[in-house]
Amino acid sequence: MSELQPFRTGDTPLPEIVILTHKLTREYDMGGEVVRALRGVSLQIKQNEYVAVMGPSGSGKSTLMNLIGCLDTPSAGEYWLNGQQVSDLNDDQLARIRNKEIGFVFQTFNLLPRATALHNVELPLIYAGVGARERRAQAARALESVGLGDRMAHRPNELSGGQRQRVAIARALVNRPSILLADEPTGNLDSATSAEIMQVFRDLHAQGQTIVMVTHEHDIAIHAARVVTLRDGVIASDQRQAA
């Protein structure tokens, strides 16, 4: 991390920095007992980086993921996303950031079971206020880009696990977000399908997409160019590796 200047409170991040956390802290009150899930995480991620966040369970990686995904707000510290400080936005403003800047990919896919693949991909566009016709066209393009152009009218239960995850990836990308945030994206897939999904990620990265992926599997993390390891709520290591 030598090429990046250290960030100090009161600074503004450099333009090429997509994600910047500064002394990020998150504490939970569990029945009177304070649990410190994150104890000051400072991290900078540049455009078109491919970062894997690793760590054993309880290390705080889910908490970090929720904070980066704007699903949660920190107890202390700063979080800058794309040059905008989001650590103290309200609920609806965060919803807007999630809609515009972040594409989520979940371990369990989280597709609406009764909706077609096309409608599932349309969802973020609905909340972005895109008109119906434009929405359908964009969703169709996103599905084609993950190789599911012929599966648009299928419901999730008519698709294989890999196909479902690709629908979810299409949904994550349809709003052209700044970051693709993947939480154990291969956790529910067999190894062949996992490799297939990792190839999709590699292609996206090659096209310029910034990707942050939370995983506890080493053979998945090796696909990333940079591995951040958390332990007990702090960064234990931050390494670049050859792709």
Partner: protein, 412 residues
């Protein structure tokens, strides 16, 4: 998210969960159906009372001089006994009142009693025998299907001629032509000279079971003591003329009865307003009771919908979490669930309206009650249905909107 999107999503959910939605809209369905059904009856009877009963049967701008009023709801016994002690209306009263009316009017005598009418071996029982003067048919708007009414000449001479109601003609003559045949009333033969057009029925009472004979014909002994009549009918051309005629009639009767200024009338001047007042009394009761019934079913309907919506929010927690993670704001989620609850209630109301209209036709077909759908009740049904949806949906929807996306996504 636009309103249209929310509605589309709501209808989609309704379609995919038909059974559950079906149960949840039952309450509103029953509420609206009963609203429209009951309202239709009140509305129908109202119209019947004002249009057909009051105007056609009683006669427009018509009043009756009688011993006591005809339609009297809730009369105490003491009043009733006082009425029974009043002197009756005499032929001479009718003649004196008739002579005193200077405005253009038509008048008729009328007395009635239930009798049996015979022809050949057949008997028509429980027939209203009316002894009347010749203008009775004009005042009552009775048009003849066959033959003619009796003349003033026949009335004065007390000729034994009869005009039959349609039901009597049918009962006694079946398929034969009744004219010129002789029917027996009180042992005396009456030549049939006319048959009145069919009048139908009102509130279940048949209107065609009558026979009209001249007031001075022998049958007068069957209906009243000599020289007495039930009613003197006066029909004016205009409403003000009718009022003037009523004043004149009151004056004549008071002087004939030697009433002092402080004494009340001991006779009645009945108009169709009396009938309408009688009905208004009944419909007021319905207007008080009806909203109670409707309100109860709508409240139950609302509670059912609220329950179903709370279940739906609980079941779809994960979906809500997902939608929030994809950028749904609180108001988007609120709108989605509110639209769903309103859609359930409105669809229930729509079915209720259809059922209410069906009920109205059914009532018309199988019961004597006239019913007609009031447009106001349909509008009210839609508005109340949607209103119940909003009220019942607010709490579940706001719970959904406040869900924490992380916790919601984690839920299995």
């Amino acid at each position: 998210m636009r309103v249209f999107e929310a509605i589309r999503l709501a209808l989609q959910t309704l379609r995919t969960q038909k059974l559950k939605s079906g149960f949840s809209l039952l309450g509103v369905f029953i509420g609206v159906a009963s609203l429209i059904g009951a309202w239709s009856i009140v509305n129908g009877v109202n119209r019947y009372m004002t249009e057909k009963f009051a105007q056609t049967l009683f006669g427009v701008n018509t009043f009756q001089l009688r011993r006591r009023p005809m339609f009297t709801p809730n009369v105490p016994d003491s009043v009733w006994r006082a009425w029974a002690r009043r002197p009756r209306i005499r032929f001479s009263d009718a003649e004196a009142v008739g002579a005193a009316l200077t405005m253009p009017v038509i008048t008729a005598w009328q007395s009635s009693e239930n009798v049996s009418v015979f022809f050949g071996g057949k008997e028509a029982r429980d027939i209203e025998l009316t002894t009347a003067s010749e203008r009775y048919f004009d005042i009552k708007n009775l048009r003849l299907a066959l033959g003619r009414a009796f003349t003033a000449q026949e009335n004065r001479s007390g000729a034994p001629v009869a005009v039959l109601g349609a039901a009597v003609a049918k009962r006694l003559f079946v398929n034969r032509a009744p004219l010129e045949h002789s029917v027996r009333i009180g042992g005396i033969g009456y030549r049939v000279i006319g048959v009145v057009e069919e009048q139908g029925s009102i509130l279940g009472f048949p209107l065609d079971r009558f026979v009209v004979v001249p007031a001075l014909s022998p049958a007068q002994n069957l209906v009243n003591p000599p020289g007495i009549l039930d009613a003197f009918l006066v029909k004016a051309q205009t409403e003000p003329d009718m009022r003037l005629a009523m004043d004149a009639a009151e004056g004549v009767m008071r002087s004939r009865r030697h009433l002092r200024p402080r004494q009340d009338d001991n006779f009645a001047l009945d108009t169709s307003e009396g009938v309408q007042r009688f009905w208004a009394g009944i419909s007021r009761i319905l207007v008080v009771v009806l909203p109670g019934v409707v309100l109860i079913s709508l409240v139950i309907g609302g509670i059912v919908i609220m329950n179903i919506m709370l279940m739906s929010v609980a079941e779809r927690t994960r979906e809500i979490g997902l939608r929030k993670s994809l950028g749904a704001r609180r108001r988007d989620v609120l709108g989605q669930f509110l639209a769903e609850s309103v859609a359930i209630a409105t669809v229930g109301a729509a079915f209720g309206i259809v059922a209410g209209i069906g009920l109205t036709f059914l009532i018309n077909a199988v019961s004597p009650l006239p019913a007609s759908v009031s447009p106001v009740s349909v509008v009210l049904g839609v508005v109340m249905g949607a209103g119940v949806g909003v009220v019942a949906g607010v709490y579940p929807a706001s719970r959904a909107a406040r869900l924490d996306p992380i916790a919601a996504l984690r839920q299995e």
